[in-house]
């Protein structure tokens, strides 16, 4: 596991966190990813990705007390670190570089 690159799935997880306002716990991330990705997403995969991202210092997490209607369970809220954001941007640029000039070809096929 290098710290230089972001895996495809981890990339999506980070984007989902950002879409959820830059901080979210796991369940909304799963839902957001299913919504955007138009396919079901395994909670286990999201858990694993978040823990991996945290170990690599790309997201941080903190416990937040239960909100209204959450039946007294604490939630773990994840947020990207500046390093995570930087890596996300790099990842995007890399993908865009790969895409440069390819759209017309794919359109035709």
């Amino acid at each position: 596991m290098t710290t230089k690159n972001l895996g495809g799935f981890e990339h999506q997880v980070l984007l989902a966190v950002l879409r959820l306002g830059g901080a979210a716990h796991s369940a909304p991330i799963v839902l957001e990813m299913e919504d955007r990705g138009r396919q079901s997403v395994s909670p286990a995969a999201v858990y694993i990705a978040l823990r991996r991202l945290e170990r690599r210092g790309l997201v941080t997490s903190h416990s937040r007390p239960p909100e209204e209607g959450e039946r007294g369970r604490p939630r773990r809220v994840f947020a990207p670190t500046p390093r995570g954001l930087r890596l996300l941007k790099q990842s995007r640029e890399t993908l865009l570089r790969y895409w440069q000039g390819l759209e017309p070809d794919l359109e035709r096929s």
């Binding site: 796991s26 909670p43 823990r51 991996r52």
Partner: protein, 863 residues
């Protein structure tokens, strides 16, 4: 809406504790969303699919990401750094361990390579185990040569052999490429090359037609000769090369890798030419000059073939007992003994070095005891501790392996140079030897790391770290040091015996004086075809060298003492003996006047041969002292006559002292010298020149005079006589050198062992010693006590080594050439040396004991 109970139950059982609450909350939230969106049934399906594997998947991913790989590697690197730092704090101990072990590994590897090359690798011939070589015992001495009629009889009559051939090594001048040199040629019977399975590269092998007297001269050349001297020319078959100035037609090329009977530093054989026995060879039964090689018929063992051969030859030689021995033994025989002796010594040495290094690393465990105890208390598993310990051993053996490889390369070069091994081509550090080094290093690393581990298990580590008097370990190490002294003693005795034997042999009375004499061989080509030309040539050469100012004497002989094989012997009869009474096994030599003076032999009675003893005058002979006694007892033989075989009588004109000619340790046999000018066909003679200082000036003079007479002739094997004699001692000198080196190593190892034991003895008893000093003990007496303990170890070691030393001495008895293997002086010297070494090794710890400061010790003790 909450999660179904079964789902919560599964999650609680499978999910790691730190995420359990979080996971339950998340699943609840997701389940609710799905029930709202998809309905309860499909939500339950989703739940079943995702809850089941959730906990295990997350755990698995955590484990794979975090635990073993990356972290373990980091640990290993830091452990390695720690181990290196730890070892670097004890440079003396590490150097000692690396050097002793490295030398042990190197010596083992070198000897293994040599033994493998010479003894283990099969000979490069077809069915080598069915090939046998002929031996004969005649007049009590063993010989390897037979006569041409013997060979023909066996070839015709033998049923136990499927093939038989002769060979004899010769040499010829080859100068076609502008560099006249003598190249070794083998004269063989036509069946020789197919018999030993020589691989034909081009052309054909020799045929029976080539092997007839008067047949056109042909040669089959070796691939090496074809490449280096004939330019690997494609049109080599049919080409004519001049060998000894006789044109030979090249009819075939035999492939590389086939180099029959190459010995020592000799050049590889250039080619094979047919015997083409001249008619006189076919008539003379006693002209033994051909070695025999044969292939056993299917299902026949050497004993059966020997019995048949002895019967066939017994009819014509009642006094000769012929037998067949495996070719391998014939070729390797003389090298087997030194190599197996060295192998034995090396095994001892290696065991010793290994034991020593184990002891040294053992000592290091003491220092690390507290560190290990702390690690163990913090939860390090035994496997991890084993790894830590193994690293120490691994670093030491790794370094030692490197040292060992260097040592092996040097030692092997030494063995090949000093040992005159029969198959030098095969002896090199090859990949197998390299693997051997690695296996040995790896094996010792394992052994070394196992040794401290054994102790690790026995008592809890924390207790061990507090342990101050590890008496049991002390005992074990004392036993080890005793063993080292014992082995050191054994090797020392071996070295002493061999050294003494060598000194005796070097001083042995050879019957001549090799100092100040040089010798070289001259082989006249066939254009010297008349007797007068041959004798005239040698007369001129010897006279011109003898007349040179400063020369004491010069002369020539057909076979120089220590000049190699090729002895011609037969039976001799006194003039008044009955026709069936003979002295057997008498060597016939041919000499020119001046030879005895040149070699420094003593003329006991009568006169030397003279230039006037030539063909047409009365045939004369000079005999050796032993033959004189055998034939004439105490009466004066001068003026009497003897008969060789059934020939004409020879008048004895003188008696000379016997010359040892094979080995300085072997007494000379009976010998009879005839005048060169009265023999017709001796065109190959060795010339000896005695000039004060001998050496290069004499050699240059000899070459100059030879060139003046015939510029085309090389002076072969031009060398000081002392060198030839020295070569004969090569086995003893080789063994003595190897054992001397080994005993030096063994002493080094014993020093390290005793030092280790005594140093730990003193340091573990510092407190006791301090108290005794405080109570008034003399530092001097403490010093003496420590020395005494060291001496006790040495004495026990010597006692334990006596019986093995006697056994070892018996094993090397054969290499001592008559010197007694049970030499009390050598044993005494070895014992004294071990004792001195023990005292030297104990002196440093002894001084430390004498200098213990009681105040400091007791203060430290209170803390």
């Amino acid at each position: 809406m909450s999660l179904p109970r079964w789902a919560a139950w599964i999650l609680r059982r499978t999910v790691a504790a730190d995420i359990e609450a979080e996971a339950l909350a998340d699943f609840e939230e997701l389940f609710r969303e799905r029930v709202e969106r998809l309905g309860r049934a499909r939500a339950l399906g989703w739940l079943a699919a995702n809850v089941a594997g959730f906990g295990l998947r997350v755990r698995w991913a955590d484990w794979r990401d975090g635990r073993p790989g990356r972290r373990a590697r980091l640990d290993l690197a830091s452990d390695l750094r720690a181990a290196t730092r730890g070892l670097a704090r004890r440079p003396g101990m590490v150097t000692l361990a690396v050097l002793t072990l490295g030398i042990g590994i190197g010596a083992t590897t070198a000897v293994f390579s040599a033994v493998r090359g010479v003894l283990l690798r099969p000979l490069p011939f077809n069915d080598a185990d069915r090939l046998v070589a002929g031996r004969a015992v005649l007049g009590g001495s063993e010989q390897r040569v037979f006569s041409a009629p013997d060979f023909l009889d066996l070839e015709r009559e033998s049923t136990t052999l499927s093939g038989i051939a002769t060979y004899s090594l010769q040499s010829a001048t080859f100068s076609d490429d502008g560099r006249p040199t003598r190249v070794p040629l083998m004269k063989v019977s036509a069946g020789f090359l197919p018999l030993v399975g020589a691989p034909l590269l081009r052309g054909r092998l020799l045929t029976p037609e080539d092997d007839r007297a008067g047949a056109p001269k042909v040669v089959v050349v070796a691939e090496a000769f074809w490449t280096t001297r004939l330019g690997r020319a494609d049109d080599v078959i049919g080409r004519t090369v001049a060998l000894g100035e006789v044109p030979h037609t090249v009819v075939g090329v035999v492939g590389a890798g086939f180099d029959f009977f190459r010995t020592g530093a000799a050049d590889p054989v250039a080619g094979w030419v047919p015997n083409a026995f001249p008619p006189w060879r076919l008539r003379v039964r006693n002209a033994f000059s051909y070695e025999l090689v044969a292939r056993l018929a299917e299902g026949i063992d050497p004993a059966r073939a020997s019995a048949e051969t002895a019967a066939v030859l017994g009819r014509v030689h009642p006094e000769l007992t012929a037998s067949w021995i495996p070719l391998e033994e014939h070729l390797i025989g003389t090298a087997r003994r030194p190599l197996s002796l060295v192998m034995g010594a090396v095994a001892l040495l290696f065991g010793l070095t290994l034991a020593n290094v184990v002891g040294l690393l053992h000592a290091r465990l003491d220092e690390r005891a507290e560190e290990l105890a702390a690690r163990s208390a913090l939860g390090a598993s035994r496997g991890r501790l084993a790894l830590l310990l193994g690293l120490d051993a691994g670093i030491v053996t790794g370094l030692a392996g490197l040292v060992g490889l260097g040592v092996a390369a040097l030692a092997l070069r030494g063995i090949v140079a000093a040992g005159r091994l029969p198959r030098p081509v095969d002896v090199q550090i090859d990949t197998a030897a390299l693997l051997w080094v690695l296996a040995v290093s790896g094996g010792s690393a394992l052994l070394l790391s196992l040794a401290p581990l054994g102790r690790l298990g026995r008592t809890p580590l924390l207790e061990r770290s507090r342990e101050r008097e590890p008496r049991r370990r002390d005992r074990a190490r004392r036993a080890m040091a005793t063993l080292q002294c014992a082995l050191g003693f054994v090797v020392l005795v071996g070295a002493g015996l061999l050294g003494r034997a060598l000194a005796t042999l070097e001083r042995a009375d050879l019957g001549f004086d090799p100092r100040d004499a040089i010798a070289f061989r001259v082989s006249l080509p066939d254009r010297y075809d008349a007797e007068a030309k041959i004798t005239g040539f040698f007369h001129s050469l010897v006279e011109s060298l003898a007349r040179e100012p400063g020369t004491i004497a010069a002369g020539a002989i057909d076979l120089l003492p220590f000049g190699g094989h090729g002895d011609v012997s037969g039976r001799v009869q006194r003039d008044d003996m009955a026709s069936d009474e003979w002295i057997e096994g008498v060597s016939y030599r041919v000499v020119t006047p001046g030879f005895f003076g040149a070699i420094g032999a003593e003329l006991l009675r009568g006169r030397d041969l003279a230039w006037t003893d030539r063909s047409g005058t009365e045939p004369v002979a000079v005999i050796g002292r032993l033959l004189a006694v055998q034939l004439f007892g105490q009466t004066d033989p001068v003026g009497r006559s003897v008969r060789i075989g059934g020939g004409d009588p020879l008048r004895i004109v003188g008696v000379v002292g016997d010359l040892r000619g094979e080995h300085p340790g072997r007494p000379a046999g009976p010998v009879l010298y005839r005048a060169h000018a009265q023999r017709e066909d001796e065109s190959v003679m060795s010339v000896v020149v005695r000039r004060p200082g001998g050496g290069r000036a004499a050699a240059a003079l000899a070459e100059r005079r030879l060139a003046e007479l015939d510029p085309t002739l090389p002076a072969d094997e031009l060398a000081p006589m002392a060198g030839l004699v020295g070569d004969a001692l090569v086995e003893t000198r080789f063994l003595a050198t190897v054992f001397a080196v080994f005993s030096g190593l063994a002493l080094l190892v014993a020093i390290a062992g005793i030092y280790g034991v005594m140093a730990s003895f003193v340091s573990s008893r510092t407190r006791e010693i301090g108290i005794r000093v405080a109570l008034g003990a003399e530092p001097r007496s403490l010093f003496r006590q420590v020395l005494g303990r060291g001496a006790l170890i040495a004495a026990a070691g010597i006692l334990a080594g006596v019986v093995p030393a006697l056994v070892g001495a018996r094993a090397i008895a054969g290499a001592l050439y008559g010197a007694s293997p049970y030499d009390p002086a050598v044993g005494l010297a070895a014992g004294v040396l071990i004792g001195l070494v023990a005292i030297a090794a104990t002196a440093v710890p002894g001084r430390r004991a004498a200098r213990v400061d009681p105040a400091a010790t007791l203060r430290r003790d209170r803390v």
